[in-house]
């Protein structure tokens, strides 16, 4: 039997898989709301805004470019939310790590800039991680406090001034049009592999799904969560470098204000459960792209950014409501 079982399984598999897929699409379409939504909105824009240049290559490429820093931070946030924690300090950290990179670039060059930003990320990640997992303060509170402290610190040390990035190489590596898309893809691919194909990823989902059960399965959930906090801050610091290197070419304490919310929105839109245990990197990436797509299209259609925020908010509610599994019907 031991020899035959795999064969039997294999033989039974092609139609089996197809059936399963069909069934999944039929009943669990809610899981795919983000993709359906993305395509639907895309088609609508393509039809209605064609004359405004929506379909021009450059405009289309702008969507992933503008989504890239949010997406990079959101990949890490997917892990964090999957293990039922949250980090509100990523926006502030984007600001501070950008500042650190600017200082670094001034006092050395590319390498010092990167080291400075990564160092800041590491430090904040360790502080967040220790406070949540070892001191056992809820992550919502810890990172909310850190949000203010990090931003306050940046503003205080720089007198609210912007710090230019002095390294051309840094600007190209993190801010150029091409590299922004490259980073988006790299983080998406690595993130998806780690979440779906490694033990660490499996343990993140297990911890978020049922922490006690995970402990009883021999998983050290405390250590695991600690590392996820550190990883999230490191990715936020990376996003900070991208933001600083982009458009303005400077670091400023208020870069990334509110970015944590876009990041969380992308993750949740992408189908990751706020209660943990379920996460999708592809979903997150599309969540980030989706928000950017709406912004892009609505701006083209001549709306103001204030109106755009209203519509964006409404669309997020609709998308999440559509995805929600019906309660009571168990």
């Amino acid at each position: 039997m031991t020899d035959l079982a795999p064969l039997a399984a294999l033989a039974g598999s092609p139609p089996g898989r197809l059936q399963i897929l069909a069934r999944r699409l039929g009943t669990d379409w809610r899981q795919y709301v983000i993709y359906i939504g993305f395509v639907t909105i895309f088609v609508i824009f393509a039809v209605t805004l064609n004359d405004k240049g929506f379909l021009q290559t450059n405009n289309l490429l702008n969507i992933p470019r503008q989504a890239s820093s949010v997406a990079v931070a959101a990949v890490a946030m997917t892990f964090l939310i999957s293990c039922a924690e949250i980090d509100l300090s990523v926006g502030s950290l984007v600001g501070l790590s950008g500042l650190a990179a600017a200082y670094g670039s001034l006092h050395g060059g590319l390498i010092t800039a990167i080291l400075a930003a990564v160092g800041v990320g590491l430090l904040i990640g360790v502080v967040n991680g220790v406070l949540v997992t070892y001191v056992e303060i809820p992550s919502f509170l810890v990172t909310l406090a850190m949000l203010w402290m990090i931003r306050g610190f940046g503003q205080w040390r720089t007198d609210s001034k912007a710090q230019p990035i002095a390294s051309e190489a840094f600007r190209t590596l993190f801010g150029s049009n091409t590299m922004r898309i490259v980073w988006l893809v790299v983080f998406a691919v690595v993130g998806a592999i780690v979440l779906n194909k490694t033990r660490a990823g499996r343990y993140v989902l297990a911890t978020g799904g049922n922490r006690t059960a995970a402990e009883f399965s021999g998983i050290s959930t405390r250590k695991l969560k600690f590392y996820v906090f550190v990883g999230t801050s490191l990715c936020a610091a990376f996003a900070g470098m991208m933001v600083a290197a982009n458009l303005n070419n400077y670091g400023k304490y208020e870069n990334g204000t509110g970015l944590e919310l876009s990041v969380i929105a992308a993750v949740i839109l992408g189908g990751t459960s706020l209660f943990g245990g379920k996460g999708s990197i592809a979903g997150t990436i599309f969540g980030a792209l989706f928000v950017q797509l709406i912004g892009n299209g609505l701006l083209l259609s001549g709306l103001e950014s204030s109106q755009l925020d209203i519509i964006k908010g409404a669309i997020i509610i609709v998308a999440v409501a559509l995805r929600r599994e019906k309660s009571g019907a168990r």
Partner: protein, 503 residues
């Protein structure tokens, strides 16, 4: 006894939690390939002893030998490597992951690339299930499967890790009859293949059917270890309770006045796929038993009557008046209470104290002006704790710290205290020890004597037969038969009806 044949020897085990001695100099020996029952009242220390063997708790004193060698188990991981697999009373599975992923959780199979090899886990899981003789799709998410399958998955998980010793902590507490049979057959096969099994149970019939030997704990002391062939059920009950008692549950004929209008009337109720055209009536003072297989719609019917699941068609009447059941608040307002099936999820706030959990349902009666009357609250809680003999170090202990059976008593106490007009109990005595079982049955009778209606759902037929005045048998969502209690000759008759074999 030949010590060489022992797979596990625990000697002089002591354990206390914040000053409370839970295990006192306990010795325990497990032979290779035997099924050894561990019995004792709620809070006797069974789960704690097993958690020590599993590396979850450290021991205060004593030693553990596995295959004749001294071991110190610091973690679940070490215990597992030593070949000990446990099926926990509280499940150690992740609802959001698939069956196969759960089976290999913590021992994932890796491909040569060091990435997870889920395909091979699926294949291997399928093999393990085939060996176990059960049919479960390894790709199903855990959350879509019922309790019985969780149990089997837990066992598969232990087997996947090459367990030589398997600990089953009240595995049948939430299984239906035929599922129990499946499990017993499996246990027998595993023991025959040389795996030693420790089996914790409160059910006397099971103990005698399945086990070779038994060890009984009482208040943290070992009071008996013997082959079951040398014991009678009465001996075992006496060892557990500590005095001579009649362990069998007796039916007492009660007179119910059925002349007036019924208190509860359910007319052609349908909801979802699991409840179809169900009608029955219950008069004041009546205890109705709901029998049926797992999935026969008993729980769903209860949920409908408590306003949790939406009703598609049909009506519910109380004292002849039709009522709307759109939420549990509606149900509570008309005096319906439900003691749910899964105590840990639906019944308790685990971090809150025993007292707070008991009182949460009756805060209204404890008001003094706008504030709560603390003194009265404590008195009420103390009374319930005493009535149900809840074993707790203090009313202020977090309820999650209690033993499984004692948690169940708190869930029951919580609703008994509210004095509902209609009380629905879904598997009320799952995991409750023999002494308390009869106590709970007494409480149910008291309620009925006071003119209430009690609806009891139970897979334990002796209990159902002892308590009910009338038994309604459900099958695939609709009523198969309805019996007056005295029409039922014995357990076998009822069993046949449940399985749909006409008699």
């Amino acid at each position: 006894m030949d010590d060489l044949a022992l797979a596990i020897r625990m000697a002089g085990i002591r354990k206390s939690f914040s000053g409370n001695v839970v295990l006192n100099e306990v010795d325990f020996g497990l032979r290779r390939g035997e099924v050894h029952v561990l019995a004792g009242g709620n809070g006797a220390g069974k789960s704690t002893l097993m958690k020590i063997l599993q590396g979850v708790y450290s021991l205060d004193a004593g030693r553990i030998e596995i295959d004749g060698r001294d071991v110190v188990l610091h973690s679940i991981h070490e215990a597992r490597q030593a070949g000990i697999g446990m099926v926990f009373q509280e499940f150690s599975l992740i609802p959001t992951l698939s069956v196969a992923k759960n089976v290999f959780l913590g021992t994932e199979r890796l491909a040569r690339s060091h990435l997870l090899d889920d395909a091979s886990s699926v294949t291997r899981t399928r093999e393990i299930f085939a060996d176990m003789g059960v049919d479960i799709d390894p790709n199903m998410p855990m959350s879509k499967l019922g309790t019985a399958y969780w149990q089997l998955t837990e066992i598969a998980k232990a087997l996947a890790q090459n367990a030589k010793v398997l600990i089953l902590d009240e595995p049948t507490a939430s299984l239906a009859k035929h599922e129990v049979e499946l499990l017993f057959a499996l246990v027998g096969r595993l023991a025959a293949s040389g795996i030693s099994i420790i089996y914790i149970s409160h059910r006397m019939d099971e103990i005698f059917r399945i086990a070779d030997r038994i060890t009984v704990l009482r208040d943290g002391n070992r009071v008996l270890t013997a082959p079951l062939s040398e014991l009678s059920p009465a001996d075992v009950v006496e060892a557990i309770v500590g005095r001579k008692v009649d362990g069998t549950l007796q039916w007492r004929e009660r007179t119910v006045d059925r002349s007036g209008a019924p208190l509860l009337e359910v007319r052609a109720l349908s909801a979802g796929r699991r409840v179809q055209d169900v009608s029955f009536v219950a008069h004041a003072g009546e205890i109705i038993g709901l029998a049926g297989l797992m999935g026969s719609g008993r729980t769903e019917l209860a949920r409908c009557l408590f306003g949790i699941d939406p009703i598609d068609s049909g009506t519910v009447h109380i004292h002849g008046k039709q009522i709307e059941l759109r939420s549990s608040a509606d149900a509570i307002a008309v005096g319906i209470a439900l003691i749910p099936e899964d105590r840990r999820v639906q019944g308790l706030v685990l971090q809150h104290s025993v007292r707070d959990n008991l009182l949460i349902t009756q805060l209204k009666g404890l008001r003094r002006g706008p504030l709560l009357n603390d003194r009265k609250g404590s008195a009420t809680a103390a009374k319930l704790i005493q009535q149900l003999s809840v074993k707790t170090a203090s009313p202020n202990l977090a309820v999650g710290r209690l033993s499984g059976g004692n948690q169940q008593k708190v869930v029951i106490g919580k609703w008994l205290g509210t004095d509902p007009e209609i009380l629905i109990m879904d598997e009320p005595t799952a995991g409750v020890d023999i002494g308390t079982k009869s106590e709970i049955i007494e409480r149910i009778r008291d309620l009925a004597d006071a003119g209430k209606v009690v609806v009891v759902i139970s897979s334990e037929l002796p209990e159902l037969l002892a308590v009910s005045d009338r038994i309604v048998v459900l099958r695939s969502g609709s009523i198969e038969r309805e019996f007056e209690r005295h029409e039922i000759e014995n357990e076998h008759t009822l069993q046949l009806a449940i399985q749909g074999v006409s008699s």
